[in-house]
C-alpha cells in the first residue's frame, strides 16, 4: 500500500495572506520532518513503513510512504485476525495492497509531528496552505468514486477518483471496489494528513482493529477544524466509529458542544446495523416512510401485535414460537402474563443465545425459566418437545424453507405436533411492487426461498388444513394498499384452528 504526496513551488493562489509562499518544494522535508535525501524505515505494529522521496527538487518534491504488511503475520496476530478464525478469507485478502486503516495508522505514526502542524524550522509554511498533489492507488471505496468526491471536495480538494476494473480480462465483472485517487489542492499540510488519516478508513468502511472509546478522542482530534462543518459529517463519524452507535452519539454530543451548533438530524437509527449485515427478516421499511421518526409502529411491531391478538382470540395459554430467532416476538409474549407456558425454538444455536440474553433468562426466577424456555429444534425434523401447546407460531419462517422441504415442515407441525392453533405469517409478494427498489419478483431478504402472493398462500394453507383437519382463515397485516391494484398488505397471515372435538 502506498501514498505519495507532492508539493510544487510557487505562491498559493489567492491565499498569500495566510502563509509564506513555498519557494523551494524540498521544504516539504522540513514540514514532514523527513530528509529528502534519505530513505527511512519504521517498524510499526501494522508492518514496516518506508519513507522516501522519488523526486525532490526546488520545483517539485514528492514523498512516498510505502507500507509493507506482513501477510502471514496478519493472520498469526490475534489483533488482526478476523471475526472468524477458521475462514479462508483472512489468508487471501487485500490488506497488503489496499490503502486501508493500516495505511492511515502508518501515516499517523510516521508523520505524527507533521499532523499536529508543528514545524520549528518552517512554522509559517506549516501554518498555511501549500499546493499539494496526493496519490492513493488501490483505495478501497465502499460507496464508489462519488463518495470519495463527496468526502474530499468540501475540504478544498479537486478529486480525481478512477475506478479500477476488477479484472481487465473479464470485462463483464465491471469495476472493483478500488479507486485510484488523486487529490489536488492548496491545503495546510497538517490538514491534508488528517484528512487522509480519517477518510481512508471511512472510505474503506472497515478497520483492522477493534474500535473502542479511544477512537472518539482520536476522531475529534484529527477532525478538529474541519469535521464539524463537513456536510458528510454524520456518515464520516458512523463509519469511522465502525457503526457503534454509542460511540457515534458520544462523538456527536461532544462535537455539538464544542461547536455550540445544533444536534444532527436523527438519522442514525438504522446504524445499529452494518450495511453488509442483513436486515431482520422481512423488515423492509414501509414505503414512503423512513421507518424512523414517524409515529406509525414498524411493520415488525404490527406483525407481532397481530400474532398476539390472534393468540388471544383463540384463548391460547401455551405457545411455541417456531423459528423464534433472537426472540423479538417471544419477548412480547413473555411480557404478557396471560401466556402461561412459552417455548422458543430455532435451528441456530447462535440465535437462541441472543434470545436468551434478550429475554434475560440468566437472571430470571426459576418459575420464569420454567415458563419461558428455549430449545434448538428444526422444522424438518419431528420433535416431541414442540408438541402439547395450545398454539404454534410460524412468524416469517416458512419463506426461509426450500419449497421441496415444506412437506416435511407440514408433517412436523400439523401432523406430529398438532397444536390447536397455528399462526403463520409470510410476506405478501404482491405488495413488493410498492417498495421502491424491490425489483419485480425480487425478494425482501436474501435468504427468502420464495415469497407468495395471497392466492399462493391460500392454496398452500387450504391444502394443509384439509390434509390435517384444520380450519384456516386469512388476514392482512400492515397498511392496506388503497391503490387501484389493491395489492393487500405487506404481510399476510394464515390462522389455522383445529375443531376442539377432534382433539385427542
Amino acid at each position: 500500500m502506498l501514498v505519495t504526496l507532492t508539493t510544487t513551488a510557487g505562491a498559493p493562489a489567492g491565499s498569500v495572506e495566510h502563509g509564506a509562499p513555498l519557494t523551494d518544494a524540498t521544504d516539504l522535508g522540513y514540514l514532514l520532518h523527513k530528509h529528502p535525501a534519505r530513505a527511512q524505515s519504521f517498524d510499526l505494529p501494522v508492518g514496516t513503513a518506508h519513507v522516501f522521496y522519488p523526486e525532490a527538487d526546488a520545483a517539485r518534491c514528492t514523498v512516498a510512504l510505502l507500507l509493507e504488511v506482513d501477510p502471514v503475520g496478519i493472520v498469526r496476530n490475534k489483533r488482526f485476525g478476523g471475526r472468524d478464525a477458521f475462514s479462508l478469507a483472512q489468508y487471501v485478502n487485500d490488506r497488503p495492497y489496499a490503502a486501508s486503516s493500516m495505511l492511515a495508522v502508518a501515516l499517523g505514526a510516521v508523520f505524527r509531528t507533521a499532523m499536529t502542524g508543528r514545524c520549528d524550522a518552517r512554522q509559517a509554511l506549516a501554518d498555511g496552505p501549500v499546493p499539494l498533489e496526493i496519490h492513493v492507488p488501490a483505495l478501497p471505496c465502499r460507496g464508489g468514486a462519488r463518495l470519495a468526491e463527496h468526502l474530499f471536495e468540501p475540504l478544498g480538494w479537486t478529486v480525481d477518483a478512477t475506478p479500477e476494473p476488477l479484472d481487465p480480462t473479464v470485462p463483464e465483472w465491471g469495476d472493483s471496489r478500488y479507486v485510484d485517487l488523486r487529490l489536488t489542492g492548496t491545503v495546510r499540510l497538517a490538514d491534508a494528513l488528517r484528512h487522509l488519516y480519517v477518510l481512508l478508513p471511512v472510505l474503506d468502511d472497515a478497520k483492522h482493529y477493534w474500535v473502542t472509546g479511544d477512537e472518539v478522542d482520536k476522531l475529534l482530534r484529527a477532525g478538529e477544524g474541519w469535521l464539524a462543518a463537513h456536510p458528510e459529517r454524520d456518515q464520516i463519524m458512523r463509519r469511522y466509529l465502525a457503526h457503534q452507535r454509542r460511540y457515534v452519539e458520544d462523538a456527536t454530543d461532544r462535537l455539538v458542544t464544542l461547536d455550540g451548533g445544533a444536534a444532527p438530524e436523527d438519522g442514525t437509527a438504522e446504524d445499529g446495523v452494518r450495511p453488509d449485515e442483513a436486515p431482520a427478516a422481512g423488515d423492509v421499511p414501509a414505503p414512503g416512510s423512513d421507518a424512523v421518526g414517524t409515529t406509525a409502529p414498524t411493520l415488525a411491531r404490527q406483525r407481532a401485535e397481530a400474532v398476539i391478538a390472534a393468540l388471544h382470540e383463540v384463548g391460547a395459554r401455551s405457545v411455541v414460537d417456531l423459528g423464534c430467532g433472537e426472540g423479538a416476538l417471544l419477548r412480547l409474549l413473555a411480557a404478557d402474563r396471560r401466556f402461561t407456558r412459552l417455548l422458543g425454538t430455532d435451528v441456530a444455536v447462535r440465535e437462541l443465545e441472543k434470545a436468551a440474553t434478550r429475554l434475560r433468562l440468566e437472571d430470571a426466577s426459576d418459575a420464569e425459566r420454567e415458563r419461558v424456555r428455549l430449545v434448538q429444534s428444526s422444522l424438518t425434523y419431528r420433535d416431541e418437545r414442540i408438541a402439547g401447546f395450545d398454539a404454534a407460531v410460524l412468524m416469517e419462517v416458512i419463506e426461509h424453507v426450500d419449497p421441496p422441504r415444506l412437506g416435511a415442515l407440514e408433517r412436523v407441525v400439523f401432523a406430529e405436533a398438532r397444536p390447536g392453533t397455528v399462526v403463520v405469517t409470510t410476506p405478501n409478494v404482491e405488495y413488493n411492487a410498492l417498495y421502491p427498489g424491490l425489483e419485480e419478483r425480487g425478494h425482501r431478504h436474501a435468504d427468502h426461498r420464495f415469497e407468495w402472493t395471497r392466492a399462493e398462500l391460500q392454496a398452500w394453507a387450504d391444502g394443509v388444513a384439509h390434509r390435517h383437519g384444520y380450519a384456516v382463515s386469512f388476514r392482512d397485516v400492515g397498511p392496506q394498499d388503497v391503490g387501484p391494484r389493491a395489492l393487500g398488505a405487506p404481510t399476510q397471515m394464515a390462522l389455522f384452528t383445529r375443531p376442539t372435538e377432534a382433539r385427542a
Binding site: A39, L66, E68
Partner: protein, 875 residues
Amino acid sequence: MTEQHVTGAEPRVLSVPELSLVVLVGVSGSGKSTFARERFRPFEAVSSDFCRGLVSGDVNDQSATAAAFEVLETIVSKRLEAGRLTVVDATNVQPAARRNLVALARAHDVLPVAIVLDVPESVAIERNRSRPDRDVGDHVVGRQRQALRASLKSLNREGFRKVHVLRGVDEIAHATISREPLLNDLRDQTGPFDAIGDVHGCRAELEALLTELGYVIERDEAGRPVDAAHPEGRRAIFLGDLVDRGPDSPGVLRLVMGMVRAGHALAVPGNHEHKLVRALSGRNVTVSHGLETTLAQLAEEPEEFRQDVETFCRELVSHLVLDGGRLVVAHAGLKESYHGRASGRVRSFALYGDTTGETDEFGLPVRYPWANEYRGQAVVLYGHTPTPAAEWVNNTMCLDTGVVFGGKLSALRYPEKELVAVPAAEVYYEPARPFLPDPGADAEGAGGALPQRDPDVLDVTDVLGRRSVVTGTRGRITIPEENAAGALEVMSRFAVDPRALLYLPPTMSPVATSGRPGYLERPEDAFAAYASDAVGQVVCEEKHMGSRAVVLVCREAYGAPARRFGVDVQPGGRGVAHTRTGRPLFSGPTAAALLERVAKALDGAGVWDELGADWVLLDAEILPWSAKADQLIRDQYASVGAAARAVMPPALAALDAAVARGVDVGDLRARTASRAEDTARYTQAYRRYHWPVDGLDGVQLAPFQVLASGPGEPGGQTYATRDHLWHLGIADRLVEADPVLFRPTRRLVVDLADDASRTQGVRWWEEMTEAGGEGMVVKPLANLVRGLKGLVQPGLKVRGREYLRIIYGPEYTQEHHLDRLRVRSLGRKQSLALREYALGLEAVERVVAGEPPWRVHEAVFAVLALESEPVDPRL
C-alpha cells in the same frame, strides 16, 4: 399369585422371571442384604441403606429416607429400562412402599415378584444388636414385624406376579433362586422362518401360500389340511387374525393348530382371536367385524373342536422375541421398549396396536403409527392394518395385505427378507374403509382426520446430542454435541431432502509438508506416506479445478427408486446433484438437464445394464469453480488481484525514481518487484477457475468414483473395494458417451517399489502443475485399503505451487513466509479425513442394505457434523 408354604427340610426353589423386579420384604436384621448378595449377581440388588448413605453420608440417617428412595427408584428405573433384573433390598413392610415398587415395575412392563424373609423377632433383634454400624432399636423391629404380619395377608392382592414367603432362618438359608424365561422369550429359536400375515379364514389362499413357500401339506381322511411341514425345516410364524370375515376360519384354525402343535409353526394371537376366545367362553361380546361368520362356521364343528380352538387361542403368547432378539413378531407390531416385556398394556399393544383415542371418518380407531418412530435394531413383523403392499418402515414390516378384502396373502422369508404372496381368489368382505387407495382422490387427503405420516420423517433425536455412529470400517465414531448442533442448522436450512442425501464426501488431507525450498507440498511425500503403509501401487489422479459434486441419478424419471429417494418432487424427477455440504448444485431446469444428461450417458455407456442398476450414486467434480463460487472468486480472489495490480506499478515507479536520484532504498526495490511478480502469478492462478457458463452450457462434470448403485427395489451394491482403474474406466466411458458434459480425469499409476515409476509420477505432477493444474490426488490403487495402522487414508492431495497462492496468499512462496507456513499440523485433518471416510462408506452401505432412512441420515449427518470441527481451512 400363589403363596407357597413348604414345611420340612426340602430346600425351597424360588421361581423368578428372568426379567422382573424382585422386592425383598423383611424386618431389619432379617438377612435381606445377605440373601441378596448370595442369591443374586453383583449390582442386581439396590439397597435403601446404601442409597441413604449416598445422599446423607450416614446409612442410619432416617431424615434422608425420602431422598434415598428417590435415588433408589431412579436406579431401579434405569436398570429396568435396560431390561435388567433388579432386586430391591429394603424392609418394604409398609404397603405404601410396596405399592410404589409395583407401580415402577408396571411402568417398565416387567413382572414384580415379592420374596418375604420372615424370621423370628428375637433373631432380628439379636442381629441388630450385634451390628456396630446400625442403630435399630428393638422397638423398631417390633413395629416392623407387626406391619409384616399384617401385610402377609394382602401381598397377593397387591399386584405381585409371584409371592414367595420364606419362614425361619433355615428355610431362608437353603432357598435357591430359579430364573425362568418369559413365555415370549424364544431367543434361542433362530429360524429360518416364514412370517405370514392376516389370513382371516382364507384357507385356500393359505394353502396356496404354504405350497408356494415350499411346505408340504398333510390332510386328514376327509381331505382337510391338518399340518404342513417344510422339507428344509423352516417354520411358519402366523401373525394373528387367522379367523373372521373369510370363508373357512375353522379350516384355517385346523391347519394352523396342527402346524403349531407339530412344531412346524409358531403363532401369536390377533385381536380377532382375542375376541373369539371371549365369545367362545360365553362372555358378552358384540358380534361384529366378521366374528358372526366365524361363529356360524364353528357351529358346524363338533364341540370338542370348539373347545380345542378356545384353548389354543387362549394360550397364544401376545408377542414373541426370536433369533437372539433380532426378530420380534406381534399381531399389531410392538414398540421397542415393549420387546420381551410382560404387562397388560404390552399385550394390548401387541393385539390392538397404539391408538390415538380418535376415530376416523369411517368410525374406526385412528392408529398411532408407532413404526414411523421405531428406531430399534430388531426386525418387527406384524399384521393388523391392511395395506396394499408390504413395505419396510424403519426395520418393521406389516404383512397384512388384505387377502380377505381381495388383496393378497403375504409372507416374508426370514432372514432372507424375501416377500412371497398369493392373490385373493375373490373379495370376501367389503372393508369399512377403502382398502386400496382411491386413484381419483388426493393421496394424502384420503386419510381425512387420520394423521397420515410419512415414515421418513426424521426425528430430531436421530441427530442431536452427543451421538456415536458404529461404522463397518472404523468402529464407533463419536459426534460431539456442539458439532451436531451446528450441522443441524446447515442440514435444515440448505441441504436437499434427507431421503436423497445418501452420502457426503469426506474431507481430504494434504500430503505431509515438504521442506523443499519454494514448496509446501510435493508428490514425493505422498509416495513415501503410502509406501510406509505398505501400499504397493497408487494412482495419481488429476485434481480438477471445480467443486465437489455428488450425483444421485435414477434410470427412469418418476420411477420407483425416484419415489423412494423422494426425488420425484425434484426438477426432472430423477435425482439430485449436491455439493459437499448437501446443498443443491443447481436449481430448476439446469438441475433437470444435468441429471437427464447423466442418465443418458450412463445409458450410452451401458453402465445401467452392466451394474444391473436403476439408480447410481456418483462422486464427481463439477467445473468451473466459478459456476458455484463466482461470487467468492470476484469478491475475494479477483479483488485482491485488482488491489495488487493497482498498487504495484506506482510503488515500483516511485522506488525506481528514488533509486535514480541515488537514494539508497536497500533491497526494498527488489523485494517489491518480486512481490509484484508473485501477485501477477496469483492473478493467473485464480483466473483459471473462471469461465462463463449459461445454464448447463460450459459446465463440465468429472466423475471419479461410483459410490453405489441399486435396483428398483431396496438394495444394491457399493464399490469401495473396486480398484480406481475400474472406477475411472466407467468415467472414461461416460466421457465417450457425452464428451461435452463429461470431462476425463487424467491419471497415472505409480509403482512405489520402482524408483523410475516414482520419478515419473513426480514429473507428471510437475508438468501438470506448472501448466496451471491444481494438483493431484494420490490414492491407493486398490481403493479401500487397511495398512499396518488400520484404515489407510483414501487419498492425499498434492497441490500445485501456483494453485496454493489462492490458499496461502499471493506471496506465500517468499521463503520467509514459507518458513512459517511449513509449521502446520496435519494430525487433526488426517484423523477427520479417516472418520468422515468411514462414515461416508457406512452411509452408502446402509443405503444398499435397505436400512431405514434415519439410519442412513445418521451417518450422513455425522459427516456434516464432523465438518464443523474447527480445522485450518488451508489444509
